[in-house]
């Protein structure tokens, strides 16, 4: 079974993140860039499936030059190879545009299973798996906390508001995973060395037969008009508990009419 894992490079959510003043895109220079954390779980799940069922695991990333670091990092966890969709015209792509490009790249790779994160920490659109499934005409099983593959049958368990659901489909399918699905491995030293030699191919928009006018700023289906920093919340009153802290807290709640 051949698997493609979608990996997105995002600014580190633990650091301060900004939009660039020039074009309202994520200012990638201002923060460290990391693999979107949910994607680590997708990589782990793919490697485990490969260990059980064989086949090949390919990383697919659309992103600027510097995303190459994240690709190597992903490969150090075990996947065989990677494809990097890289083209200057992609800057400023909206989710709809990104899905057009990723879907085209997936068509060239033709995997049995596409694994991705349930959402990204920068965009939080959480729509990519369904957008891709819609474009490719295949099933999307989203938010998996458990995944099993039996021949051509893929089954997931996913958390819902009311409890959980079991959902099944036939391959090919897109499965997005939640961070409760597994515990991603740390790359070993051997893995890091091996990753350096693994093949990474780049694809341009021309390679994918996509007109640059359909993507990037030019083809975006939504546009940011303005952005500003939220005025930081100002710290209010702080009391040190010397035996009356609980009462002081209730006094505050009462003053705000909560009790």
């Amino acid at each position: 079974m051949d698997i493609v894992v979608l990996v997105k490079q995002v600014p580190d959510s633990g650091a301060e993140r900004r939009l660039s003043d020039a074009d309202h895109t994520v200012d990638r220079a201002s923060a460290g860039n990391v693999i979107n954390e949910m994607d680590d779980y997708a990589i782990e799940e793919a490697v485990r499936l490969q260990e059980a069922h064989g086949g090949e695991v390919t990383i697919l990333t659309m992103g600027p030059e510097r995303a190459a670091e994240s690709i190597r990092k992903a490969l150090s966890m075990g996947p065989d190879k990677a494809v990097h969709v890289l083209d200057d015209a992609l800057a400023g792509s909206c989710a709809v545009g990104t899905s057009l490009v990723l879907a085209a790249a997936l068509k060239t790779l033709n995997p049995d299973l596409v694994l991705c994160g349930a959402e990204s920490t920068d965009g939080r659109v959480a729509a990519m798996p369904h957008m891709l499934a819609e474009r490719l005409g295949i099933a999307a099983l989203t938010g998996a906390r458990k995944l099993t593959v039996d021949g051509q049958t893929v089954t997931i368990e996913r958390q819902t508001e009311a409890g959980y659901e079991v959902v099944t489909a036939t391959t090919p399918a897109v499965v997005s995973v939640w961070d409760t699905i597994n515990e991603p491995r740390y790359p070993t030293f051997k893995g890091i060395l091996a990753a350096k030699k693994k093949p990474v191919s780049t694809l341009s928009l021309a390679d994918l037969g996509i007109d640059p006018a359909q993507v990037g700023f030019a083809g975006a289906s939504s546009a940011v008009l303005e952005h500003r920093q939220r005025p930081p919340r100002t710290a209010g009153q702080k009391v040190v508990d010397e035996g009356q802290g609980g009462k002081a807290l209730v006094d505050f709640l009462a003053s705000e009419k909560f009790v």
């Binding site: 295949i138 659901e165 079991v166 952005h227 919340r233």
Partner: protein
Amino acid sequence: MAEVLVVVEHGGGAVKKVTLEMLTLARELGEPAAVVLGEPGTAAALTDRLAEFGAAKVYVAEHEDLAGYLVAPKASVLAELVRQASPAAVLLGATQEGKEIAGRLAIKLDNGLLADVSALAPDGTATQSIFAGSTIVTSKVTRGLPLATLRPNSLTPTPSPVTPTVSTVEVSIPESAKLARVVERVAEPKSARPELTEASVVVSGGRGVGSAENFALVEELADLLGGAVGASRAATDAGFYPHQYQVGQTGKTVSPQLYIALGISGAIQHRAGMQTSKTIVAVNKDPEAPIFELADFGVVGDLFKVVPQAIEEIRKRQ
């Protein structure tokens, strides 16, 4: 006035609060038209409530397949409805299902997507809050109609009763939308507490709560205030509280009137899920804990002393 489609979120035969928020917002944008999607018999229990909040029209799309598969059939029915009704805007909840339907709709209609908005102006300008709530963005769709998912608790729903016209939608679902089949739905026992994303009060516990048993204290305070219980990731990872109650970047985003953080340090990823709360209260024994930077009221102290005293005090006053 053009219709504004509001895709109804419902569960257990009741309309979810985010739907009432969407109807309230829709009234500013045009004429609210609620769209009920579900298995046969779903709409009957919902219509009165939708009318109470201003749904001048209720589209009823009922079919077994709408419940039997993940969102694709719903997206397919909606896309058809949008083509027929030519609405001024389409609103969905920024919930797991709402986000997923919206994604499919954006592709089907080749339409921009305004994700997780907290406001939408009549001219189509959406307000979103990103990067753990630190940045506020305004944006617009540049292709198609305003298609937005509304973050729960972004506005206060207000009633505006109408007598709706009910319109039955012809449902025909293509085989291509029936690929992800739901084979089992397991309802887990639920507390009587309000839903986390809908609650006007949320009391959350972190690693400082120390154990699953100790979460009873968090629950007790929440119950006294009529609130929901949340947890930090450190608390859910340690098994103190179930994962679905996690607040933060990889958990739920909450925006209550009152958020109380007990034994939570206030890591940026936690703040991502609660930063837009109206009033924030924190109890933490470390005076340097970052949570105090955003707390309107903070108590530096041992939560096992402060919280029981607070509980006792609230009981006294009630």
